[in-house]
Subunit: 434 residues, 2 copies
């Protein structure tokens, strides 16, 4: 990997998400060498991925080059790499670009989509955990409408215009709301020769309310907002399979659709070499102690989604969201300073700042620790917070301009099929006519 | 294709570039049915593609949904399609989504990269005529630097950091200037552990000056600007091949590089079925008369790059640029109105508004018909004109913000490898660790 060996301890961080970046920032002024590995050269602001999928934003608005975030820090090294395994007894990480020795290793690998072993959904459904996946979904949605124009079969048209979203957490709810806004504001203009009133958005939830991690009042209000937008909500329904045409459930209920979006769960993105049975907690997360140390190791830590720190309030680990990841990353940075100065580390404690979700234009639900509210004001709070947490002044400006434009014009202009998802028509597209 | 047959004449336009869109706009108020076919669902503002390649802009800033441009026009139909052939005797166009009858057919297919039959360059070189190609080039440039970090071989590093641009027209010159700015402002910050002073930008031209379609004074000044930026200009050099590692030329001169960008020529993107020998002029363009009628046909027209209209000043057809395309498209729109009202058509005459090219920060060359100037003012003019010609208020705003930010910060933030070009590491990237 061509990284010089220095006398300062080397901390290898796997993953440049919220946890990894927060940690790296805290380490920037310490006497350590930091090596960050990620399979992308950018940090992704995941809470806005659904806006990439629905053509409201482009990737560069919610992605930020990792090298740029950390370019001011001396003794910081980034490598674009896929991690293959960790070998704790040798203190090395093996990757597709070679292996690297660590003094301390931090797993900040985040989470990936959890299909709960359902192969048919994994193969035929769409996920929305990364930018390429979100762009694929954008292409597919637009391709569906182009294809719907070409058929006389009403059944085929209905399937192409039916969007089935499984999982009504924030991602599912926000995507459903955005699709409903597109139906209302854009589709009838773009496709005047298609009866876009027949577009269906079905949101399926296994439990008895949407946004089940939020308060009951937020759930209730969100359901009301969604229903007003014409979203069909199905509660207590368990999706059991999808062959690319039919969604089956645990009852007689089925859906004919060309698009199933799976937002029903995530699981820790574990790394090979640490998969010992007794290390892995519920949700495929790695068990850590109150200092984010992986059980049984002094020199391996885990932060963010991948880390399961059992506490009284969260026996199975903190929620797999941005806030715990950011807080754990920061906290571990402070603990490293103590550790390297032979001081005892401090236990992590999570400060729950609350959670929120937006449901289309002028509508959001916000749960703060002591205050819950919904509607237009919540929507402004949602926007402000998301703008604030975006990295980079330019990103904030561009997102703000896009939101303002989209709001005023009831529009989203990035409805471009840059890379077709279905039947990519041409590899060397220049050799094609027209 | 599910397009209703009406009593008004049907005009089928193949291609949604400058020519096709200008024509469609002129037809919007006429008593005709317009069907536009394109293999993309967006119009591309090609003059700024090099800014997508170099991470200054995202695709949505220079692309615009065709459906949106024309959504206000009644009796207008867009279909996403690859044209396979035209059958003039049956008056139909065959495509991958079925065939369509036309009363009038307009070829607005534009141009594609001309490799002059050189297969090695076509296979191993990069082109920059479409958005996917420009994004591929962006990924490749960034991947080269990531790869250069991993090797101890100086030769390999040099090849990865050597950019060979063949063809010093506006595209080649603007790309060379942008790469030189990146070298100066960004690379040493992003890659502190790489000696980025060794980055080379080689611009190769077969003739004896760059920008040979512009005035000698513009060429001279552009060469001076480029040289000040550290670009190596090679004139009177003919590139003969590229095997992915070595660029060969008509002399002993060779270049070792991982990246050859081919901007040395374009050719008409002809359509099967009209390829009769005597119809095709120099540059693979279709011969048209002064009304843009394809030779030998009353009902088939061609506009823009694909059309070769021989005039006294342009015996081989007008320059293959935006302006002739826009003007021919508009003019044909007016001629259709006359034709359909049984009035004689008017011959096209080209009004040369001049041409321009920018060479990095604060530097551009502008040739107006009666006035030629270079430098900072030319650069402002270049920016103003390009902002003005972009379609859509939002695009202008977003491009303006990006340019202002990039200018103030010496930066370009879209340096993201969204879809790797070399060794795409993972198909289903979520199954990967890290």
């Amino acid at each position: 990997m061509n990284i010089p060996k220095t006398s300062t301890p080397r901390i290898v961080i796997i993953g440049g998400g919220f946890a990894g970046i927060s940690l790296a920032k805290k380490l920037s002024k310490q006497e350590v060498q930091v090596v960050m590995l990620d399979r992308h050269n950018y940090h992704t602001f995941q809470p806005l991925l659904y806006q990439v999928s629905t053509g409201a934003l482009e990737p560069d608005s919610i992605a930020y080059p990792i090298r740029k975030i950390l370019s001011h820090y001396p003794n910081f090294y980034f490598r674009l790499a896929n991690v293959e395994e960790v070998v704790p007894e040798k203190k090395i990480v093996r990757t597709d670009i070679g292996e690297i020795f660590y003094d301390y290793l931090v797993l900040a690998t985040g989470s990936r989509t959890n299909y709960y072993g359902n192969q048919s959904i994994k193969e035929n459904g769409m996920a929305m955990k990364t930018i390429p996946q979100s762009l694929n979904l954008r292409s597919l949605i637009l391709e569906n409408f182009e294809q719907a124009l070409l058929t006389d079969s009403l059944d085929e048209q209905d399937a192409l215009m039916n969007f089935v979203i499984v999982g009504a957490g924030p991602t599912g709810v926000e995507l459903a709301g955005a699709l409903a806004e597109i139906k209302k504001g854009i589709l009838h203009k773009d496709y005047p020769d298609l009866d876009t009133r027949r577009v269906q958005i079905n949101l399926i939830q296994a439990s008895d309310r949407v946004l089940q991690e939020m308060s009951p009042v937020a759930s209730k209000k969100a359901e009301q907002f969604l229903e007003n937008l014409g979203v069909h909500i199905w509660k207590d329904v368990l999706v059991t399979g999808y062959d690319g045409e039919t969604v089956t459930t645990n009852s007689d209920l089925t859906f004919q659709t060309a698009t199933l979006i799976w937002s029903a769960g995530v699981m820790g993105a574990t790394v090979n070499g640490l998969n010992a049975e007794d290390l892995i907690a519920r949700g495929n997360r790695v068990k850590v102690n109150e200092f984010n140390q992986v059980e049984g190791f002094k020199d391996i830590f885990a932060v963010g989604d991948i880390a399961a720190m059992s506490t009284e309030k969260y026996p199975y680990g903190h929620p797999m969201m941005a806030q715990p990841a950011i807080q754990q990353g920061k906290h571990l940075g402070i603990n490293f300073e103590r550790l390297l100065n032979n001081k005892p580390m401090k236990p992590f404690s999570y400060y729950d700042k609350g959670s929120m979700a937006t449901i289309g234009r002028n509508k959001a639900v916000v749960d703060l620790p002591n205050f819950k509210f919904q509607g237009v004001f919540a929507w402004f709070v949602w926007m402000f917070i998301h703008l604030f947490f975006l990295i980079g002044f330019r990103n904030r400006m561009v997102v703000f301009i896009n939101w303002a434009y989209n709001y005023i014009r009831f529009d989203r202009e990035a409805r471009l099929i840059i890379r077709p998802y279905k039947n990519p028509k041409t590899k060397d597209e220049e050799t094609q006519v027209a």
